[in-house]
Symmetry: C2
Subunit: 516 residues, 2 copies
């Protein structure tokens, strides 16, 4: 293992232990998720997957992908053997996949606290909060535009949770900050309020560069040239378009050797044909084109095969999430990512079109999360908080989702069939018709046997009524306030904190506010 550079060493707390699987230290002594120990579900057989890959190749060779307004990208593709016709880039079958081959199968994303470094790929699972909501809601204050305070709150909640291994990116839009300065405040929050990996700004190449410069103040330029500490969310303008903002930001992150997650964004029937197979194929085609560009800019740069897709009610036009068709696409994409050989961010997460953290919200979210995690996705975006198709981040749903994240990670931790699991001594102590609660076996294991949700239990009906008959979202309202009140900011060396503040102040002063 290479040593972290001086700046990073200053922030170490002596807990750094790095095995095959990353350790996720959290402020409290929460359980550690040690990596997937159960098999990934294989929805599709190899011939079906090959047909999807053939369709992706057909799209790339016959239709092509447009990189609009980015001559540098077009030149790179032409030099690599692709056919460039105006903005349209076409790849003979197999070429795009070949260009992706230099991307690593597995890599580390370094946390400011090395104990929070995560590994993307292999048996590892990295969960992160929702991304991009312009609104927030909570049961008491209701639905309103998100502010920087909300953004900071969600960074704190993500840091405090043992079930999110990543601080996320634009968790909510800090709409009280000018558009052209938001990335500075968001970076400052991720870097100072958390020590988990995070995502930087991508809304212009300049903001991408600012984000990288701020990270360099903490991690050091040399360290970052060799190691990824941050990710970029590069969304394709599906169908089949990269605009210059996205491809420009992509090239900035790639040049800095930071992780680029390329995520096509397809609502089936609108930005692509309506079938799960077609969405999976188009996602693969679009993503391979972007990953290829990353590798042309800097071979070996870490990437994530991303996706964002869902379905619509094709009669009403309403977006739908957690549908069986979308869940199947998610599962197929996990398989396609394994075949591509790069870590996968697989479609789902805990997503819903519901407007409240109600039964529909959790039905949609829970199903989508099963599809995502059982199929073997490595990184899960939108694992907590999403409502209204991502328009809203709900404080209550955030902690309800966290409980389910923890439950799923417990499941991924596997099923023991060793002698101690079977508890033969308990049968010898008791017998038919007798209770096992007081056996030595139960007493040895009762405290740690079962996953414990953090949202207060409802309890039996009569007690529940006496306590006000609080529904799950109402009990969750207690929990997130408790988490925020117990939050403790991680330490940061003074000189780094000062450097970050000065950078932000300087950049803010250098440009007038822009509000659109």
């Amino acid at each position: 293992m290479e040593n972290l550079d001086a700046n990073v060493n200053q922030t170490q707390n002596g807990r750094a232990r790095r095995g095959r699987l990353s350790r996720h230290n959290t402020p409290n002594d929460a359980p550690v998720f040690e990596g997937r120990k159960i098999p990934a579900y294989e929805l599709l057989d190899a011939p079906s997957l090959a047909r999807i890959e053939d369709q992706a190749d057909w799209i790339l060779s016959e239709i092509g992908i447009e990189f609009r307004g980015d001559d540098i990208a077009l030149d790179l593709f032409a030099a690599a053997g692709a056919t460039v016709d105006g903005a349209r880039v076409r790849f003979v079958p197999g070429l795009a996949r070949e260009l992706c081959a230099t991307a690593p199968t597995q890599f580390d994303l370094h946390g400011r606290d090395p104990g929070n470094t995560v590994t993307l790929g292999g048996d590892n699972v990295v969960l992160m909060p929702g991304y991009g909501s312009p609104f927030v809601t909570d049961l008491q204050a209701g639905r309103r535009y998100a502010t920087l305070k909300d953004f900071r709150n969600f960074v704190k909640l993500s840091y405090a949770s043992p079930w999110l291994q990543h601080s996320g990116g634009t968790i909510v839009e800090p709409t009280d900050v000018p558009v052209n300065k938001r990335h500075l405040d968001m970076m400052l929050a991720h870097l100072t309020l958390s020590t988990k990996p995070f995502m930087g700004g991508v809304t212009s190449p300049e903001r991408a560069q600012d984000s990288i410069e701020m990270a360099r103040l903490v991690f050091g330029r040399d360290f970052m040239d060799r190691h990824a500490v941050m990710q970029a969310n590069i969304n394709v303008n599906s169908p089949l378009i990269y605009d210059h903002t996205m491809s420009g930001a992509l090239r900035v992150y790639a040049a800095a050797n930071q992780c680029v997650c390329v995520s096509p964004a397809i609502f089936a029937g609108a930005m692509g044909p309506l079938s799960p197979a077609a969405v999976a194929a188009q996602t693969l085609a679009e993503a391979m084109a972007g990953i290829a560009l990353v590798q042309l800019v800097r071979p070996g740069c870490p990437v994530v095969f991303g996706s964002f897709h869902s379905t619509m009610n094709l009669k009403s036009g309403a977006l739908t999430f957690g549908s069986p068709e979308a869940n199947m696409t998610t599962m197929a994409l996990s398989q396609l990512g394994r075949r591509l050989g790069v870590p996968t961010r697989s479609g789902g997460g805990q997503i819903t079109a519901a407007n409240a953290p109600d039964g529909q919200a959790m039905q949609d979210s829970t199903g989508a999360m099963w599809a995502t995690l059982l199929s073997g996705a490595h990184q899960v975006w939108h694992a907590a908080g999403w409502l209204e198709g991502g328009l809203v981040m709900s404080y209550e749903k955030f902690v309800m989702d966290l409980d389910h994240c923890g439950a799923m990670l417990k499941m991924l931790n596997g099923f023991r069939t060793d002698d101690e699991a079977f508890g033969r001594d308990a049968y010898l102590e008791t017998g038919p018709g007798e209770n096992f609660l007081s056996t030595s076996h139960t007493l040895r294991h009762y405290a740690s046997a079962n996953f414990a949700p953090a949202t207060p239990e409802a309890g039996p009906y009569e007690m529940w009524v006496e306590n006000g008959a609080l529904t799950a979202d109402q009990r969750a309202a207690i929990r997130w306030r408790q988490m925020l009140s117990e939050y403790q900011q991680p330490e940061m060396p003074n000189d780094i904190g000062t450097a970050l503040s000065e950078f932000v102040a300087e950049r803010k002063a250098s440009m007038p506010d822009e509000w659109y």
Copy 2:
């Protein structure tokens, strides 16, 4: 295919088509579920499954199972080579499994409408409503004791849903009917208000016999001697006990060649050791003993390897459902059932400890349903309605669960990768950046592409607020009333209806009311 006997032919409506997979006709022209086309998830590898089976054999040989107060059962076991010591029956390793070997791997459960006949085993999936709740609740009338009217309502709702292929058993307890006469009214409701398969009474051998006699009035004695038309829910008094009520009812159904589902009932840590592996092993041991008894009474009698298990908060003592530990047990049991070679009712269903149809209820239920169906269970009890760990059947949750049943069946229907699914013509009609909504491909498929929940959509936030900001359960309250108001009772020949009514009247008159 053998012909149904005269009585059954009278009730045919000409739609009977029986392929490898059963057809589920419903009052409306609902989509048909044609069987599982996606692989079952294999949580455990073969060595782990073998260790669980070894543990089951250890329990059966070293501890044994008690059949209390049933000398006939004990004699049958002794004659079959088991060691009988008082009520305790011990099986040398392998014996219980050997005795189960005459049970069929797959069989039909005949509906009064042959179009509603289902197949248990193989690629088939049979969902049924909850079982046994003494209470019901709905948002308007609140929580109260269930009555015969509620029972009849849930039979109607189950009949009306395309996603439940089975009418269930004691869906709710008709607490306004004397305990010793409930089975008569419940059988009458299943037989007259629905044409789907159902479960009969098991609370005493006599009530079991009454149930069979009533079914014979509809299906004919000869037909039923050759074909299963009903199921019995035989619960083990876990740990390791069959009481004479259950083993007596088991023998009545077995003698009549009707399907016996043997379900151990284990809360981990109380009725068995606390680990998923231990619960799976004990479930297998207890179930094999019961299935062996069925086969000793009547070799070849159809059985289902059942299970009912969950977890507890071992600190507070509260029962928990949908936990990761319970879900893993459910998945393991599906695998163990396949190895045993009989159809499996696998633990889960849409179960929860929540007191309201809220986010927790659906989070618990949805996860448990994924575990159940993805692992390959053939029959799912408690697929709709459960609240409060089964104490309460909720009208609203019933229809919310139905939506998820439909979604899961859509997923089990599989993922097409044929040329039409890829929609190449749509790409040739459009191009990068263009919308696919008006392509011929979308127009060809938009009406049937996606599963459509029946609970009214929330819609976008502003419209949702204008319409009263109804949460999912509030919208579900509209849906179940609509289903009941649209319910149409299936026809039944007058002579059969009269015979059933007379049987019920006669049996009721023959005994005084018993209320406990």
